[in-house]
Amino acid sequence: MSTFLSYAVPGVPFGCTYAIVAMGLVLTYRTTGVFNFAFGAQAFVSAFTYTVLVGRGVGVWPAFVLSVVVLAPALGWVLDRFLFRRIAPTNTTAKLVSAVAVFVALPELVTLIFGSATRFSPPTLFMNPSIVYFHLFSTPINGLEFETVIVTAVVVVVVNAVLHSRVLGLTVRAAVESPRLLQLEGVRSDRVLSATWMGSSLMAGLAGVLLAPQYPTLQFNDYAVLLVAALAAAALGNLANVPLALVGGIALGVVEGLGSGYFPSSSVWHTGLLPAIPFLLLAILLVARGRLRGLEVSEDPLAGSDPPPPMPITATRGPELDRVIKLAGRALAVGAVASVLTWVPGNWAFTLTTGLVYSIIFLSITLITGMGGEVSLCQATFAGVGAFIAAQLAVHHGVPILLGAVIGALGALVVGALGALPALRLRGLPLALLTLALALLADNAVFPYSWAGGPATGLEVPRPQIGSVNLATTSSKGFFVLALVVLIVCALGVKLVQRATVGRYLDALRASPVGAESVGINPSAAKVFVFALSAGLAGLGGALYASLQQSITPADFNYQFSLIFVVVVVTTGVRTIEGAIQAGVGFVVVQQLLSYLPGRWGSGGLAIVFFALAALTYAAHPEGVVEFEKRVWTQRFERRLNRGGPSPGAMAMAATTPADRSSEAGDRRG
């Protein structure tokens, strides 16, 4: 019994940190109906600022006020004013991708501003961590642990007080559900929403600063894991129940404490199961809890007045122009390929080859998000599955890398199909969270094994040998041709599916799952198909990436890449194959160009911030910024071609404005 308690008691303060974040999520969700994905990043920003300020000699309390009371709400205001407010309330994908962009960009941004040196944990607020205040069941309780429990108790009281303020709650929820409808009631919805985001951000900042001393060093990864663990705790209470979130958080901490105590530190249970518990718990809850499935399925009664998304410009421009542009596009592509093969220097040829390989991985996002209408946050994990299978087969069994790549793609395809099974009844945000849980599960409990992700020093992956041509020796230009061929084959394959009957079914399912099912389309089959094919494509791309880089580690395929990939592809243009290729090439070219910047600005973080900022344009142009620019230029060009008359493109645009279609108000039950 005393052993049990000595393992369980230290888990309580740690569980309290889960509980604080869980209650923050519950508070935000209960008052706004929005699950704030960026919560973890906002918490990190405040924690980071607090640590930097204290490190520069600012007192603990002034630093607390600056980073939590001033900075956090200001950040919330900025995010609302410049990002979330511009997104249509019913556009779940846009909301999700924008939040993901914030989640990825904020930590990189603060690191760029303050430098990326290792930050050690900041001092606690009011208790000394090195003093043991008392013994509980003969387990010493130090200042840090005691403080965490006290703060948790305070947070419980505050959260309850806010949730019981009725008027505030109702207005806020109305503003979130339909800002436009509330506007008609004479309420300034925009101010209500701003205030909500500021409050949510304050809560995140508070949690962040309280948590910082718990970890030996300040790393964003801890905050990402914390967010998911807290989400699992909050999910226990359907994101609505404060006591259950509290109990869930503490229970999670205690279970982890017990696990690390009882399991021998070298056993599979300790290294594999223990870190996976929060993600497994979240995945199970998302699948099993019916109430969580409805998470943020917004139904704005005024959504019917939104214009439908515009057609791709390729479908609406005049036939002569279409022919000219296609010809020019092909000439450009041929020119680019010829240039790479002749005069382009080696490092740029390598960069562009990487871009082609990324394009293959990005095509998997075109499939799942552009065609399937779902956001997956584990595409890099699928790429990793393909890469590690191919690499392990090549290293340990002497399988040729190209054959290994095909086997890896098939392996990823199977993993994708299996991953789709628990996701069958999920859509939108809950599905995205499930994929994130799967990605973190792989990162923490599968890839770290040497039989999977290889030794810590990295897996050496060979370049392919085709006939007598060894692509390792004939510079990277041979690999460029290989990547180009594979990309073209994959693109044609995706195009084929897009045009086939299945493509039509997917269009229907994306637009209205209920309507599609009512005519006999099987949504489960479609989802398994899209997940499997998409995972297979990502796996193939991952295997090629491994061979191109010649050495890979699990860090090359961690969840952050999944998030960045989604942001990059969706903001470039997720509906078209060209979009994926432009995203792939653009991604590496921007990185390469920014790498010429001096010091930390050239370290790669800026590229991530750059692409995340592109998400700002996504809010205004959900079809993708490249697609938007193409439309603008095409129309400008067509106007110049036939002055006086309206352009065919403009006419097609006018035909798709919403006419007099109004959504039936209310859901009257007959």
């Binding site: 439908p308 299945v502 039509r504 079914y505 637009a511 009512s518 005519v519 099987n522 949504p523 007959g670």
Partner: protein, 255 residues
């Protein structure tokens, strides 16, 4: 009634939403040769009943069968392939698809069972048989001229006609029309009425949920009345309207 023409049979259907009984032990039959009107005040459980037949809602008790086949526990898409067609009170069209594409995918998904490997790589075009059915249905719903317009650009009335046409593809045994006339103008209601009226003659039963009593009186063979989840009367329109319980519940008359 011929063996092959067995229609929709609803037995002891009950649904509860929390403490509220939305449907209470309802028995109802729709033959494949009739147009049955289902009326009742708002909240009577009409849409709940339609959702239970379509598979969008799982009832707490009771059974639904079509043509002698029990549908209980079947996913909506399987019911659709078994011959249940339906429209929605809140329209559920695919805005980016054209009218013709709506009808085409409905025809293909219903008839083929929707799972063939060739569908992954075919050109996504209707074959001769499907083409003929699409053109005939376009004619029926009066949208031939707007067949290649994206549905997003159509007014609400036309969208309801598209839904009705979509539900008709693949020749279902029964059509559930959930308030198809709401939001339609007089001319569109006339098109819809004559379309629905023509179906029972072709062996397609119709369950019409409707608030427009004039339309119900004009097109329905038989009328059933729901009130607070209970079926309180069924019979001819005039007989039902003369029923004192119906007058009390539905028309608010004090007996």
């Amino acid at each position: 009634m011929a063996e092959g023409l067995a229609g929709l049979a609803i037995r002891s259907l009950s649904v509860r939403f929390g403490g509220i009984s939305a449907l209470d032990d309802v028995d109802l039959d729709v033959a494949r040769s009739e147009l049955l009107g289902l009326i009742g005040p708002n909240g009577a459980g009409k849409s709940t009943l339609v959702n239970c037949v379509g598979g969008q809602l799982t009832p707490d008790a009771g059974s639904v069968a079509l043509g002698g086949v029990v549908l209980d526990g079947m996913a909506p898409f399987r019911r659709a392939r078994r011959g249940v067609g339906r429209t929605f009170q809140r329209i559920a069209v695919f805005p980016e698809l054209t009218v013709r594409e709506h009808l085409f995918i409905a025809a293909r998904a219903r008839r083929r069972g929707g799972a063939r490997w060739s569908e992954l790589v075919d050109r996504g075009r209707p074959n001769a048989e499907e083409s003929a059915e699409v053109e005939a249905t376009l004619e029926l719903i009066g949208l031939t001229e707007r067949a290649d317009v994206e549905v997003a650009a159509l007014p609400l009335g036309a969208c309801r006609l598209v839904e009705t046409g979509r539900a008709l593809m693949g020749r279902p045994s029964v059509i559930l029309a959930d308030e198809p006339s709401s939001g339609l103008d007089a001319r569109e209601v006339a098109t819809l009425s004559s379309l629905l009226r023509s179906l029972p003659g072709q062996g397609i039963g119709v369950l019409l949920v409707e608030h427009d009593l004039a339309m119900v009186a004009e097109v329905c063979d038989r009328v059933a009345v729901l009130d607070l989840g209970r079926l309180i009367a069924q019979g001819s329109f005039h007989a039902v309207m003369a029923d004192p319980e119906v007058r009390r519940a539905y028309l608010g008359e004090v007996a």
